[in-house]
């Protein structure tokens, strides 16, 4: 199992435990535990299997089981993304493995990248979302819980399977999709009418950073991607869970805690997002410095959306307030001193 995947699994398990303990009163803890546990088991299986072929099969099962969870979207709509993801990944693997001209391997890389995007639920393969759907049945489960480990496994294994010529294409496409998701996610989180969609797009924007990090095939890029994924699991996802009650009640507040949460979501110092951004800028400077400038400019797009999301948290009280404090504390610690996280993943 790749060490990054193992580390993210541990963080995902912690996020699940957090969700069960600190979920709002209106959320079913039992459902969270059962479905979250199943998701975690499936994700662990994806990471544990020795080959990419087996990982695809596990993904297919996980996708089908997730589609079967009770939700407001139809079964057909929810089954499509994982099956398409597996299909594109399988085709991509096939094209990468055959003896063929370079162009075929490039198309294989396309299949792998597109498959990963479809599996996670980022542009151009956004999963349809319904505002009233439970978290465990919604696309955010892919973006924020299953997706991180899935992406790490796919990238790690795909890089081993790709020939050298296609490797550059793989990285380039990841960077291109990453920029697209950053820009779209940043703008959409701000402009979209619905709060749930705004949260979803904020995940998409962070995934843009992840894709860029994976695409920049230097160590700092991988480190940046890992930090962002850890931030997704240990920050954005729990905060989204806590905010769901306020979103349902359509309450927004402008207290200092909302601003601090907005700062964490926007990736400002001293939170983990800022450290990730520094690493990403380092990586892009090593590869192609104008990209670093573009990235720095696009990073500013997080701000208006984050302010909105911070307000949508409402005013957490009691257990939720403690939960928010815990999330912020962990984020600050990881932001100021990310070395243990990176060392655990051997990066």
């Amino acid at each position: 199992m790749p060490p990054e995947a193992l580390e993210l699994l541990v963080i995902a398990a912690a996020a699940l435990a957090f969700a069960v303990v600190f979920a709002p009163a209106t959320a079913s803890r039992r459902a969270l535990l059962v479905r979250g546990g199943a998701g975690l088991a499936g994700t662990a299986a994806i990471a544990a299997v020795p080959t990419l072929d087996l990982a695809l099969l596990v993904l297919l099962v996980l996708g089908a089981l997730h589609a079967a969870v009770a939700g407001t979207r139809s079964f057909a709509v929810r089954l499509r993304p994982p099956v398409i993801a597996v299909a594109m990944l399988a085709l991509g693997l096939l094209l990468v493995r055959v003896e063929a001209p370079d162009l075929v391997a490039r198309f294989g890389a396309v299949g792998l990248v597109a498959g990963m995007a479809a599996g996670v639920g980022v542009l151009p393969y956004l999963h349809p979302i319904e505002p009233d759907e439970a978290l465990t049945a919604s696309p955010v489960a892919w973006l924020g819980f299953i997706g991180p480990v899935l992406a790490v496994v796919l990238v790690f294994r795909a890089q081993g399977a790709l020939p050298i010529q296609a490797g550059g294409v793989f990285g380039g496409m990841l960077v291109g999709l990453g920029l697209l998701n950053m820009a779209w996610g940043g703008v959409a989180a701000w402009r979209t009418a619905d709060e749930v969609a705004a949260w979803r797009y904020s995940f998409v924007a962070d995934w843009g950073l992840v894709l860029c990090g994976f695409g920049l095939t230097v160590a700092d890029g991988q480190r940046a991607a890992l930090l962002v994924l850890a931030g997704l699991l240990a920050g954005r996802l729990p905060l989204y869970l806590i905010s769901r009650q306020a979103i349902r009640e359509k309450t927004t507040t402008r207290r200092p805690i909302n601003l601090v949460v907005a700062a964490a979501l926007a990736g400002s110092a001293p939170f983990v997002g800022f450290g990730a951004r520094i690493l990403l800028l380092r990586a892009s400077t090593q590869i192609y410095w104008p990209l670093a400038l573009v990235l720095a400019l696009v990073m500013l797009l997080w701000l208006p959306g984050s302010l909105r999301l911070g307000r949508s948290l409402g005013q957490p009280r009691g257990r939720q307030a403690l939960g928010v404090a815990l999330i912020l504390a962990v984020n600050v610690a990881a932001g100021l001193y990310p070395l243990p996280l990176l060392a655990a993943a051997r990066l």
Partner: protein, 551 residues
């Protein structure tokens, strides 16, 4: 002295902040005493570390994870800026009552700001400075979420730009540690980014920016703290830039450009100050005005200019505390504060500005013209100050947070401190030049009673002391009760809607022509992207496939 002591100025306010927060959550308000203890202990730690040895002390611990080690340093520069930051904060935390949460947040902001000036490298400065900016915004919002505060994107972009500078130096030069960066790594584009970050970090813009806007808030408790912790940081970056470049900027054009920017800031602040309707609005322009003059001086690339700029920043920081404690009413305290702000003789400001103008002439060429323009700007400030004495006070801030005696004392200190200018420069500012302009700092001379320049010697004690005596005598013999001030018209009017605001209004009102709206409609695009339309998915796959054939 063990190198771990450099952590003390950062750790002490944090420890006190944690204690305040813990007790506060338990329902016990530790009050001003605790907050004051946190801030003054920081100041004491700085003095205790620097004064005995007056040379750099550095602590380097392990790697943090983004190419930077935890590298903290107290040298002449960090000492000077550290004092500039902590002193007004300590005064304000000691005197002004505030809720425990505000005290804790203010101390965290102080610690972050001190960490920014103690950081040994660019990346760490970016992280600490970004933290200070975030905390500053949170503090302002905690006090009053509806009042003016800096645009957060504005502040974040500054520290993000600095982070980019840091990583470029790491990649291109192998390190971002101030004392170790190869001069060749500090190229013109890198410096441009650093200068932009500095200007944005301190809000040094030729239009009304947050250093002025904050002073119009209903309460000035958080405003004073925020300006004190954030405003000096941009100047800190420009001073460290000299260290990066071994005593100079990559090109003389940068010196000219930054000096012009500084002049524009000072002049625009003066122009606004002379046209305002209330005394509070005039005083709001004082800090940007000082910042403009300081920037002009620092950017000259001469030791004299640098130390002059440092002195001006120190005076500005004192006036931050003064302005936050000053009540908005007519009286001697306002007159003294305004006199200190505009730089009447024999104030420290007067001496520093004279030296700054002389430094421009000594720098020569185009910079001499800037000196002339600076002198004209100063004249506008004096006229604005004279006018401001007769203006109504303004909205006013709560009396509980004003301390007229202390405010007057601070203003008097700067007003009468001219004779001590040489002492101030020698003890406070010269070590800065010695740290960042090692090869040319030796040109600074004069001692404790006079300041030597390239072309002359300014005997501050013998020159300013009689002026001070004369000023005291004039005050004593004048019947101030007989003075009747009246509001005077502005020297020149400022358009009611600045050009920037007009551009903003025009941009907001811009709309895509009707026939193209569906193409650029965000709602339509979002619906198309998020509906999960199979056609979109297939087309996206085809587009990716096409893209790789072009790669």
């Amino acid at each position: 002295m063990p190198s771990a002591v450099v952590v003390a100025p950062i750790a002490l306010p944090l420890i006190v902040a944690a204690a305040i927060a813990v007790f506060g959550l338990a329902g016990i308000n530790l009050g001003r005493a605790a907050a004051a203890a946190g801030a003054w202990s920081c100041a004491a730690a700085l003095l205790a570390v620097w004064v005995p040895i007056r040379s750099s002390i550095e602590l380097v611990l392990g790697q943090l994870g983004y190419g930077s080690a935890l590298d903290l340093r107290i040298d002449g520069v960090s000492f000077a800026f550290g004092l500039v930051i902590v002193t007004p904060v300590a005064v304000l935390l000691t005197l002004q009552p505030r809720p425990w949460a505000d005290s804790a947040i203010a101390l965290v902001g102080l610690a972050a700001s001190i960490a920014a000036v103690e950081a040994g490298g660019v990346v760490l400065t970016a992280i600490a400075g970004g933290t200070a900016a975030t905390v500053g915004v949170v503090l302002l919002d905690t006090e009053d979420p509806d009042a003016q505060r800096p645009a957060w994107g504005f502040l974040l972009s500054a520290w993000l730009a600095l982070a980019l500078v840091g990583v470029v130096l790491q990649v291109g030069g192998g390190t971002a540690v101030y004392s170790a960066v190869p001069v060749s790594a500090v190229t013109a584009p890198v410096f441009s980014l650093l200068a932009a970050a500095a200007v944005l970090a301190s809000g040094l813009l030729p239009w009304r920016s947050w250093p002025a806007q904050l002073w119009t808030r209903p309460s000035l408790r958080a405003a004073g703290i925020t300006v004190a912790t954030l405003f000096p940081l941009g100047f800190y970056l420009l001073v460290r830039a000299y260290e990066l470049g071994d005593g100079r900027y990559p090109s003389p054009a940068f010196n000219v450009l930054l000096s012009v920017v500084g002049l524009a800031v000072a002049l625009s602040a003066a122009a606004r100050a002379q046209a305002v309707a209330t005394r509070r609005e005039f005083l709001a322009e004082v800090v940007p005005g000082f910042g403009g003059f300081a920037l002009t001086a620092i950017a000259l690339s001469t030791p004299l200019g640098l130390v002059t700029g440092i002195v001006l920043i120190a005076v500005a920081s004192a006036l931050v505390a003064c302005l936050a404690l000053l009540p908005d009413r007519a009286g001697i305290e306002s007159v003294v504060a305004i006199a200190a702000a505009v730089g009447l003789p024999p104030s420290v400001t007067f001496g520093a500005r004279v030296l700054g103008i002389e430094a421009t002439f000594e720098a020569g060429d185009f910079l001499g013209l800037i000196g002339i323009a600076a002198a004209i700007t100063w004249v506008v400030w004096v006229v604005a100050g004279a006018r401001a004495i007769g203006l109504p006070g303004g909205r006013g801030h709560p009396a509980a947070e004003t301390f007229p005696l202390v405010a007057t004392s601070i203003a008097l200190l700067t007003l009468s401190g001219g004779p001590a200018l040489a002492l101030l420069q020698s003890g406070f500012a010269n070590p800065v030049a010695g740290e960042v302009m090692r090869s040319t700092a030796g040109s600074l001379s004069g001692g404790l009673t006079a300041i030597g320049t390239t072309s002359s010697l300014l005997p501050v004690v013998t020159l300013f002391t009689p002026l001070l005596v004369m000023a005291v005598v004039v005050y004593l013999v004048t019947n101030t009760r007989a003075i009747r001030t009246q509001a005077r018209p502005a020297l020149f009017p400022i358009p009611p809607t600045p050009i920037g605001e007009r551009i903003r209004v025009a941009l907001r009102g811009a709309a895509v022509p009707e026939e193209y709206r569906t193409v650029f409609s965000f709602r339509e695009l979002e619906a198309a992207a998020a509906r999960g339309n199979p056609i979109v998915w297939i087309v996206a796959l085809a587009a990716l496939g096409f893209a790789v054939t072009r790669y």
